[in-house]
Amino acid sequence: MSAVTPSVRLPRLESTGRVAFHRVLLSEWTKLRSVRSTAWSLVVGFLLTIAFPIIFAFVTRSHWGSMRPSERAGRHPLDIALAGVNVAQLAIAVLGVLLISAEYSTGSIRSTFTAVPKRLPVLWAKLLDYAVLSFVLMVPAVLVSFFASQAILTSIHPLQISFAHPGVARAVIGGAAYVMLVGIFALAIGAIVRNTAGGIATFAGIFFVIPPLMNILPLSWNNAISQYLPSNAGRQLFALQHAAHTLTPTAGGLLFGAYCAAAVVIAAVLLVRRDV
């Protein structure tokens, strides 16, 4: 330490600005892109969406000759093209939970809410940033999986379907929309539970545990209830065939959207009320 006291002076800030939503949106975007888990989850989500349809298409093509007619009838080109969506949703959901739960586990939420003490703009910005990012990522993913799986299945005429065929474009883009909504739902759960493990477990419970449990119920109950579960309602967004005891794509999509909205509202109310 030198004998002369070094004078420490804080340089002045020439211009001062207020908190505004477009600024919080940019801030949350910076936060989103500056942690490794984002890139990992998105790359995994993107690759899984494409990889599964390609693998299924190859397997189907090589076994087509030995399949019984009933088995062939059970194959649908869109089920193959969008098989990856079911897997990709997990990656997107985990990241969705993490985007807010990691703020609590690391304590960075205190910095966040010190900068934006009204809190709600942070939630809206996170949701909007993540929804746009996951949709923009998933649209090319589902398009690639559709056209790649169709290309692999060129020789099998019953499994050829045109993108212009009624409902196909809606189902393919619906797959991307479904994953985006899953991300929103998961982010809201992360904000409610405020814990990474708890958030992922809650999501997995709603999407992967409760639906098969419904099979324990009497069939009539199962048929009546299952279609209204979030996962089954949302799934109609990328289903082409309207099976028995399922909602229409519009009804299913709206119901799933309502579930997401409800989760977001609960998250928002708790975010404002709870201590950090």
Binding site: P6, R12, T16, R110, A115
Partner: protein
């Protein structure tokens, strides 16, 4: 300016902050002193609106923190608990905060340079030492050029050079007319940095005083005497407000009298003295004395309940 009125916070059954009223004025460094667990960090969270008060009220620069449209320009805060995502670099952490207020990137660079984190600014902050984490926290607090600076235990984990740097920084900020509110559990640190003290224990206000008054009060009258006739001396000195504590090897600690009074009383009684030493209570001792009553009362209460 920070103004707290009857500020109270309960966590379940536990009362962390209990009816605190105080004012932190601009232009000076105000120390916020109390033992660990006395409610300092909770009070700071209440000031920032991170936790909601059970009762009472606190404003910063005339408004509730939550009602400020540009809070980073009003209050810069360093919170004791780490408040940084461990996977994010110091640069991106500060940039994310700056962007909420439209603060330009060059301000982020400016502060990284100011606190000396230039070399590690792009590394993940989870790899930071405690001292580097504190420097990042200080950079964060100063990002918005705030009118009020509030730092929770800022010198924790800093090396002597860093501590010296923080002291000068705080004094400089106060000299510019800013409100500087800085917590510590170390009285000695506060005595060097602060002009005014707010002392709490068990969530309650114990003292709201200038450092000079506090130091004067701390210099209690304590004298160590050594004599072959301690028993007679004790009788000669006894009186209202005087107490004794045995000291090492034939010595006695006399509380409540000056060295002159002890010497004259001994001479009057014809008692030989082998030593007569006035003791200056250290600031830490004064602080302990001040907070002891609170702590003892609490301990008794807990025993009574148990």
């Amino acid at each position: 300016m920070i103004e707290a009125r009857d500020l109270t916070k309960d966590y379940g059954e536990k009362r962390a902050v209990d009816g605190l009223s105080f004012t932190v004025r601009p232009g000076i460094v105000t120390g916020f002193l109390g033992p660990n667990g006395s409610g300092k960090s909770t009070t700071m969270r209440l000031i920032l609106g991170l936790d909601a008060a059970t009762r009472g009220d606190v404003t910063v620069n005339g408004r509730h923190y939550r009602d400020h449209t540009a809070p980073l320009h009003e209050v810069g805060a360093l919170l004791e608990a780490r408040s940084v995502h461990t996977g994010r670099s110091a640069y991106n952490h500060l940039l994310g905060l700056a962007q909420t207020h439209g603060i330009p990137k060059r301000r982020v660079h400016e502060l990284i340079d100011l606190v000396g984190l230039h070399e590690v600014a792009r590394k993940r902050s989870g790899q930071f030492s405690l001292g580097m984490g504190q420097r990042l926290g200080i950079a964060q607090a100063l990002l918005g050029d705030p009118k009020t600076v509030m730092l929770d235990e800022p010198v924790n984990g800093l090396d002597p050079e860093g501590i010296h740097w923080v002291r000068n920084l705080l004094k400089g900020l106060a000299a510019e007319g800013r409100t500087v509110f800085v917590s510590s559990h170390l009285m000695s640190e506060m005595a060097l940095t602060a002009d005014h003290l707010i002392v709490i224990g068990r969530g309650k206000l114990i003292a709201d005083t200038s450092v000079d008054d506090f130091v004067a009060r701390a210099s209690q009258k304590v004298v160590v005497v050594r004599s072959p006739e301690l028993e007679s001396l004790r009788d000669a000195l006894a009186g209202p407000g005087v107490s004794f504590e045995p000291a090492e090897r034939g010595a006695l600690e006399v509380h409540g009298l000056t060295a002159e009074q002890v010497g004259e009383a001994a001479a009057g009684a014809g008692i030989a003295l082998h030593e007569l030493t006035p003791q200056q209570a250290s600031l830490e001792e004064a602080f302990m004395n001040l907070t002891r009553d609170e702590l003892e009362f609490a301990a008794e209460l807990e025993e009574a309940v148990a």
